[in-house]
Symmetry: C2
Subunit: 619 residues, 2 copies
């Protein structure tokens, strides 16, 4: 057979042949080889063999498939313990390279598929010197309980003719009317923001009857009710919801009202059972019935729901935290937490003081300045400033951008690449990014420091995302306010606190008195499980423990090391109680794993949880 090749200067003539030929490269061969050995070792339960394929410095992050948990095993000992405990149940098999592997800087990068007894999965592998450095295993679907998409989609029209048929719309209306009344849902999600909505869509696809409880009237209201200049600070490619990506012409930083309208349309299109104007009052687990008892108030009426599983999706910020400051009750102006700030309109001509220096503080100060209002930011501790454009290019650009799309990385792939980096070493991936940011933004940073602003890049220089994961605060993604601070348009008092509040002013710890008609406490939030204390009991809140953070032993994230975000998207120490949330990316990606864990339980599939996280901190 003649072949027609043109390959880097080598040319052969020839006749007809295949349109394209995939050349097996030795990189893919290496991976296939590794996967074969690994698969065989696991199949024969030869754990030592499997460990022999790992570097000393190795990590295995499993999203549900092996551990029915969200868990990272760090080092051979932890991997050995996990395999010893789980292999018999999991029955892994079919470790197959999914696409051509690649190599860069001595690291081989590969995607593969695999199966367990009850599921199909997708994984990622990094090899160094032929041995595993990082391994990611993720559950994609449960065998026999796949989403009814593509080939599996339902017909819709019932072809044929049936006496007394009910139409699709009638069945839907009936189900919707019955659910929560004559028929109890499998799951209740408390919180109808982007997190609850994304998770609700996953449950809908998996056929898990769910009710979403939301105190505001309409989906998206939590966005509509914010100050008007609010936009996403993460670029659009990072922010898609599950199943229906944002249209290709959406602004990079989408305004709050567009997001709100999208959430509303999405909730309708996805046919979610969304109870707006519904307040969750009290939740109690009823052992005798094997369900939760969830008391809600829906448009003034009390209703009791009895789901098997309860998901809290109220956002990973807890209650607004307002520090108690002497004299607060004497203040004659307006004072409120940033979450209650209505925007600048009422304060034209007034004097404003904003306590705090992170995201909300900056947004609010900028909006006040734009209306020509006199505003002073009071900075108590250092803040990490990450200019939005630089963040987009340097931190997210490789995975979530038009450039990434052109490189064949869509958000599905971006999510998995993100997930494949163990938290333990994640900071090492980020430090160079922020070193580069320091150079690129040297001018702004210099002028900020000159203005007295206290800047940081995280305790180890790893910047924004690590701060976000560790403590959920302590940063501002700069979309313009930093310039105002740097040039003095927004006044700044730094390294001080408010000592005392007076009827028409505040006194700072350095003795300065600032006249004030408005005082905004941009002072953050408490631990999310404070809500649990009120919704359930303080004991339950303590049993669940602190939510968020990695145990990195950095400010606001005390050790010991947990290796995963506390209590997020995985079994908690309170059975049938789950927490969902995070930013739009995390909501999108981790809703997949949370929904699969709950679907498995609904279908009676055994879900032996490996390595349930211990609680080291109660709040």
């Amino acid at each position: 057979m003649q072949i027609n090749l043109s390959l880097e200067g080598l040319t052969f003539n020839g006749g007809n042949c295949m349109t394209t030929a995939t050349l097996e490269n030795s990189v893919s061969e290496k991976v296939t080889d590794w996967l074969d050995k690994f698969g065989k070792a696991l199949e024969s339960k030869n754990i030592d063999s499997a460990l022999g394929l790992m570097n000393k410095d190795c990590y295995w992050r499993d999203l549900v498939s092996f551990t029915w948990n969200i868990k990272t095993m760090e080092g051979k000992d932890q991997i050995k313990a996990m395999l010893s405990a789980t292999l018999d149940n999991v029955k892994p098999s079919h470790w197959v390279l999914k696409e051509e592997a690649s190599e860069a800087d001595g690291v081989i990068d590969a995607w593969f598929t695999f199966e367990t007894g009850v599921s199909r999965g997708l994984g990622h592998l990094r090899l160094k010197d032929g041995l595993c450095w990082t391994l990611l295993t993720t559950m994609v679907e449960l065998k026999g309980h796949e989403e009814k998409t593509g080939d599996r989609r339902i017909a819709g029209a019932e072809h044929g003719a049936f006496k007394n048929r009910k139409t699709y719309a009638e069945v839907r209306a009936e189900d919707s009317a019955n659910l929560g009344h004559t028929v109890q849902p499998q799951v209740v999600i408390i919180g109808g923001g982007q997190g609850g909505i994304a998770l609700g869509a996953r449950f809908k696809r998996l056929g898990v009857p769910t009710i979403i409880i939301e105190k505001n009237a309409r989906p998206g209201d939590s966005w509509r009710n914010r100050y008007k200049s609010l936009c996403l600070h993460d670029p659009i490619w990072y922010d898609h919801l599950p199943y229906i990506p944002f249209p290709e012409d959406w602004p990079i930083f989408s305004p709050k009202d567009k997001i709100a309208d999208w959430l509303e349309a999405y909730t309708k299109i996805m046919e979610l059972n969304y109870w707006g104007s519904t307040l969750a009052k009290k939740c109690k687990y009823d052992e005798s019935k094997g369900t939760w008892e969830v008391k809600v108030e829906k448009e003034g009426k009390e209703i009791v729901l009895r789901p098997k599983e309860l998901v809290i999706a109220l956002g990973v910020s807890g209650y607004a935290f307002v520090p108690k400051i002497e004299g607060a009750e004497t203040f004659q102006g307006d004072q409120h937490h940033s979450s209650k700030h209505p925007g600048p309109e009422k304060y034209v001509g007034k004097k404003c003081v904003v306590l705090g220096s992170n995201n909300s503080a900056h947004d609010i100060c900028a909006a006040l300045w734009e209306q020509g209002i006199d505003v002073t930011m009071v900075q108590r501790s250092s803040t990490h400033i990450a200019p939005s454009g630089a963040l987009m290019d340097l931190a997210l650009g490789g995975l979530y951008s038009e450039k990434a799309l052109k490189n064949g990385i869509d958000h599905h792939k971006g999510d998995l690449i993100f997930a494949s980096v163990p938290y333990k070493i994640m900071h090492t991936f980020h430090i160079p990014v922020y070193d580069e940011m320091k150079k690129r933004e040297a001018d702004l940073y210099g002028r900020l420091k000159k203005a007295g602003f206290m800047l940081d890049f995280g305790p180890d220089g790893s910047g924004l995302f690590m701060k976000y994961l560790r403590r959920g605060s302590g940063y501002y993604i700069d979309v313009g306010a930093s310039e105002l601070v740097a040039n003095g348009s927004v006044k700044l008092k730094s390294n001080v606190n408010i000592q005392k509040i007076n009827p028409k002013s505040v006194t700072l710890t350095d003795g300065t008195e600032l006249p004030a008609d408005l005082l905004v406490y941009a002072t953050g939030y408490g631990s999310m499980n404070n809500w649990l204390a009120d919704l359930m009991t303080p004991e339950i809140a303590d049993k669940v423990g602190k939510v968020w953070g990695l145990g990195s032993d950095t400010p606001k994230d005390p050790g010991p090391w947990e290796g995963e975000l506390r209590n997020m998207w995985k079994p908690s120490n309170v059975p049938h109680l789950w927490i969902h949330g995070g930013n739009l990316h995390q909501s999108r990606h981790y809703s997949q794993f949370l929904s699969l864990q709950i679907k498995a339980r609904m279908e009676g599939i055994p879900t032996p949880v490996y390595g349930l996280a211990q609680v080291h901190h109660t709040r």
Copy 2:
């Protein structure tokens, strides 16, 4: 350099090399060669050279790029005339193969890109014996006026800080409030069904200010208001709207209410200026102002709109056609056209007669039977029956299905493949499909005939789609009603008409009397331009002429041959008046070309129309 190949039994060993290599095949080479020669011939304006690259039996279908029209040139003479008239203006260039070509049954199939002076395009080519058999050129975008998607998307958040900024939502609300009042739209679309909505979305993306006028209150109401068992008869892959495809889990035959809700969400998300509860009263072109004067009644108030361009998107069915039958005014039961049929609920226990035997007649008869109601179908002339499943497999399956998706054919590609088949020879592509259908469905067809049903497959055996294109009627996509006719559950009187209507019965032309409490006229629609007669004047309606049909000289589609659908998506003989519509596929695809034609005019780009269709029939 060593290469590592494994190619049909030939194996070479080697070291590292590229992950994949594309082998140039001689099929692609042939096409590249042809495109080079063709491009050079056009560039040097050597029309004879270009014609030398064509078969005697050749077709060139152009969607806007060359002709600023929707036009098929059949044979060398017509192609020559077109090129002579347009080459100087068009300035075509850059004819480049887009992906590997393929060959089957002696025909080479290829996709290519090209440019004109003002646009970029995508094309399709079929070569037979090295010469062009069919050529399709389509305009994709206007240079300098591309949709702001992907790389070109807007930032959204105005980074920086601006005193007195207006937010995105405020700007949108302002524009929306002003448009049609203090600011006139470029385009008014009369008709807010799927056609108007799809076209509106295209205009929005292109930055053409547009108002959509709809008599019903909400987008989708025209679907909501139909009888409840209505579903799409075309499978979902065929039906996507522009920009946002239906989710992957939508039923194959989506129920009307789901479609209605999608249209409503889509209209909101796409930020269309949609005026519901608005009736178009009168339209007149104002030569002195160079705009239309469109009088509408919006929620009781008269408003005058002054767009440059007017699009009628009322559906290609005109007014409901109700035959005048002696005695109709004496009828004591309910009588109405199928379009006004409320469904079976009121008629339980009654006797029903449905005049007609096409789509609506079958749907209505089946719905009546499902409620246990006595119904007789009166068939006046033969009908083509295409069972939905067979249609989906045999006719659409290659282009619009999960299988097609797996073969790399999404609906964008499906649309272009569909568009690449000249109408002149389209029936030859379809005849084998319906021959196969006759075999596959022999049992049903046999039993229908036995029951007395008059069956046809179009005058030339080319079946459903040709009937649809030629006359928009005369068929039923069977989703179950045919079984009822075949087995006598729905009674049938065929080859008769209603002679006379009596107070409680109808008398047929064969003398039979049928008792009746309900008479449904499933008797179709008049030509679409009857609406123009009322909206504008009869003279204008006549000047536009008959809408739809190809001039095939088959029943209801008189010659002469037009080669394209009359008056659809292209310049009409009334300047600034356009007609949009068709099924969901046509609406989706041809809205692209209609919107580009109007955008070009808005931007002052010269649009010399080649071959404006003459009017041969006024209604």
